[in-house]
Symmetry: C2
Subunit: 288 residues, 2 copies
Amino acid sequence: MSLVGERLSEMPQAVLPMERLAIHQVTLMQCDFRASIECFARHGVRQTAVWLDKLNAIGTEDGARILEDNAMSVNALCPGGLVSGAHALDMDAALEMNRRWLDHAAGIGAASLVVITGGLPEGETNLFAVRERALEGFHRLIEPARASGVRLAFEPLHPMVCGGRSVISRVADALDFLDALNADDVFGLAVDSYAVWWDLDLAASLRRAGPRLLHFHVSDWLRDTEDVRFDRGMPGDGVIDNRRLRKWMEDAGFRGSVEVEIFSEKNWWRRDPDDVVRTILDRRAEFL
Amino acid sequence: MSLVGERLSEMPQAVLPMERLAIHQVTLMQCDFRASIECFARHGVRQTAVWLDKLNAIGTEDGARILEDNAMSVNALCPGGLVSGAHALDMDAALEMNRRWLDHAAGIGAASLVVITGGLPEGETNLFAVRERALEGFHRLIEPARASGVRLAFEPLHPMVCGGRSVISRVADALDFLDALNADDVFGLAVDSYAVWWDLDLAASLRRAGPRLLHFHVSDWLRDTEDVRFDRGMPGDGVIDNRRLRKWMEDAGFRGSVEVEIFSEKNWWRRDPDDVVRTILDRRAEFL
């Protein structure tokens, strides 16, 4: 049986080197733009993904300078997309916002803009209609993205936020979506372990994704999770075997960074930021 | 594209007749065993699924008498299974519990015992190992179930309870699981719209399930849901098109009842039970 084969083929995994560790800015929600970047730099973390709200609060020019002053690489700007009609008055408004986000991403030297479809607009219950609207929106983003030189990293989200955030939940469904877009020079995939760990087809889907794998986000699923969005755990505190998932990513050809992205209203967002980063570094040897 | 085909092939759906409506006892968590059954009967609802905790509180004999006095059919007893090692000291203890539940189910004339795998035991992060343990457990339940004359209705649950309740999340994965069990005289499928509505492959998976479809549970996914288990909505209040899902079930050959099963700690479990049942009856014409 292939599932057993999956298990038996596991090998001890090399410790993630520091130069392949990124921490998303949103992991330090308690900090402003500058404080979060300086905190990462202080601990030798040299890669981040910028959180759009934090960038908007300070502006792209100041943001870019702070990143440069701290020798910080930017893997991505998060999140864009949201073209399903649930988050903007109409498609044109959503596309205009995305063009602005692409400019911001280019302005801070981000390799990618992470994009999600958005959820079901008020009154809509047809997933397929929303999927098609999102497909149309992303089609219309191909040229602006190409012009900006920024990749669009499409991210499926956990089924529990299907209504509100993304009608594409599985890696397999995301790949079908990218097949339909047929623009692999622009689009790739962002895989978040928190969103997809439960999927029994995950290893096979990652193999299918192959060179489309652009980003790997990690956190942990807490056994006693209390919130559908903001109660993610620190790797090692929950049920996700992030190291096994990294192996699957790497077996599929992925050579990028492991990006720690923790939304945690009740715990990590309330702690001392240095403590949060130190904990991530401590967990690196065993859990990343 | 097949997804578009799915959408265009939709036809207006006949209103669900009263004799195909069931309400799960757990929907009236605010009532004891007797009060819930009498409330259903008072409103002309003649089918229910019994909640194990409520039955345990009163005993199988008294339960059976109350059901009979109210001319109530019992579609199922819920929930059993839980053989993953997360909920019992060992496999033998879990199987012993299930044999007792099968006796209870037979004692109240339930057609099925609804079973779930259980979640990840403490310290375990390997979904496939847990799946295999659950498979072994269910294999060992085949003979007791056959002897009892009660079907085992296997239910995949939403990925957000994968850690705690079920390592099988999708209908497709449940069918693979049933294929491996290879005992279709004993096992069938319980499909809960709340658990699977987000799955883009759902219609195809239901077609594959065909005659294995034993039960259809419905509630609604609230846009602003606050809890991973106990914040389900009344059909019509959320984003699930239960009527479309019923059509897919029926296109696959399902002729059973629509069973309303609402877990709602903050709303429906606090209301007057007659009000809850009246609301369900009101929603029948448009949303079931």
